[in-house]
């Protein structure tokens, strides 16, 4: 187990216990800035933790970031850990991040699908879904990125429990999804929602379930363009951006389609690097470069949120 956030190895992949221990260390080291909230439990009973970075008050306008909803996308959880440390290191030093946190809270869910993540470490490195049992099928799990109440059951998701894109029996059937839905609704003041996946090197905005353009299409496109430019400035990693359906493929029941329809205008989903050479087995020496470049894009989106309240 890590002994402190300073000696924690950010350039290695870690187990669920190690990441949860890291969260406790981070909270203990920064009690006035970071707190840990449990928003629910997973199907197998693991706690679903969110780190809250806040300088004051409750239910202030907020930014949500989640990593690891697809458990095998290990570079996302690893990047989430790095982001958490970056936030505490930057507050009070980086004027831009400081002003963001003086105006907004940040919520960060590092392991959004803990059952799946534990399973990738113990039984099947390529596990993507949740671990819920499907009645009447021998196949386990639901794709949590097809389980949201936005075009649920439409094209781009499977009704077959054995498929990697199985949508589940009904919207929000997965506890991991429902926990976020409940949190977002009860909070009521989330302005930006960023869900982080890998790989493919994309920054996407709604919609995925319909070809209809989002009402804020032009603004979202402009933000994505600026964020991708910021990201590419560090290591020249090439990203594409656009709506989900026009940039990659049709997908119904996706996270950010739901958040956008809830009124969270700045809804984005990332597909982090690896240029497609290693798939979900991105070498650990690329964790920090990936996190560093992604951070620049996150900052661009967070700065825009700060400067363009709605």
């Amino acid at each position: 187990m890590p002994q402190s956030v300073e000696t924690f190895n950010y350039a290695s992949y870690h187990t669920l216990d190690e990441i949860y221990n890291f969260m406790d260390l981070l909270v203990a080291a920064n009690p006035n800035l970071v707190s840990k909230i449990q928003i629910g439990n997973s199907y197998e009973g693991r706690p679903l933790y969110v780190l809250k970075f806040s300088t004051r008050g409750t239910k202030r306008p907020a930014i949500w970031i989640d990593t690891g909803i697809h458990s095998r996308e290990w570079v996302t959880q690893a990047s989430g850990v790095w982001f958490a440390k970056k936030i505490v290191d930057s507050y009070g030093k980086d004027p831009s991040l400081t002003s963001i946190l003086d105006n907004l809270d940040i919520f960060l869910e590092i392991v959004t699908n803990p059952d799946g993540f534990a399973f990738t470490h113990t039984k099947n490195r390529m596990w993507r879904k949740t671990r819920s049992i499907n009645s009447g099928s021998a196949c386990i799990g639901v794709d949590p990125n097809r389980n949201w109440d936005a075009g649920f059951g439409g094209s781009g998701a499977s009704s077959n429990p054995c498929s990697e894109t199985y949508r589940g029996p009904y919207a929000n059937s997965e506890r991991e999804v429902k926990a976020i839905v409940d949190f977002v609704k009860s909070h009521g003041n989330i302005k930006t929602f960023i869900s982080i996946h890998s790989y493919s090197q994309l920054l996407l905005y709604p919609y995925g379930y319909t070809k209809t353009r989002a009402p804020d299409y032009q603004e979202l496109n402009n933000i994505a363009k600026a964020a991708v430019a910021a990201l590419s400035s560090l290591y020249d990693t090439q990203y594409r951006y656009g709506s989900i359906i026009t940039t990659i493929y049709q997908a119904s029941g996706g996270t950010i389609d739901w958040t956008y329809n809830q009124g969270i205008k700045y809804s984005f989903t990332f597909e982090l690097r690896d240029r497609g050479r290693y798939g979900f087995l991105l070498p650990a020496n690329q964790i920090i470069p990936t996190a560093e470049e992604t951070w620049l894009a996150l900052m661009a989106i967070m700065e825009y949120t700060r400067d363009h309240p709605y």
Binding site: S12, M126, C162, E164, Y199, I248, G279, L281
Partner: protein, 93 residues
């Protein structure tokens, strides 16, 4: 513990909508136990699919007979998994 010995990840390049439909047909064949890492989408984004060793011949013949171009992205997935595991253990010590 599930292993991926002999599993390959193929990158499929579609040239037109007909190719996309062919690849979607492939996706429907549950007995092949394919794991689509990306796609099948449009012509701009290649499709990446993990193919178990037992299905490799069938998939490659399907693609070649359909005139769909592909390359091998990962030759043996288990080798990469083993490398990752070794690296994690080394880092932890």
């Amino acid at each position: 513990k599930e292993t991926f010995v002999g599993n390959q990840v193929l990158r499929i390049f579609v040239a037109n909508e007909a190719d996309v439909e062919k690849v979607k047909e492939l996706e429907e064949l549950q007995e092949l136990q394919l794991d689509f890492w990306r796609g099948p989408g449009g012509q701009d984004v290649p499709t990446d699919v993990r193919v178990p060793f037992a299905s490799l011949q069938a998939v490659k013949i399907f693609l070649e007979s359909s005139g769909i171009r592909y390359s091998i992205l990962i030759d043996d997935l288990q080798t990469l998994v083993d490398e990752e595991q070794t690296q994690m253990i080394r880092q932890h010590f």
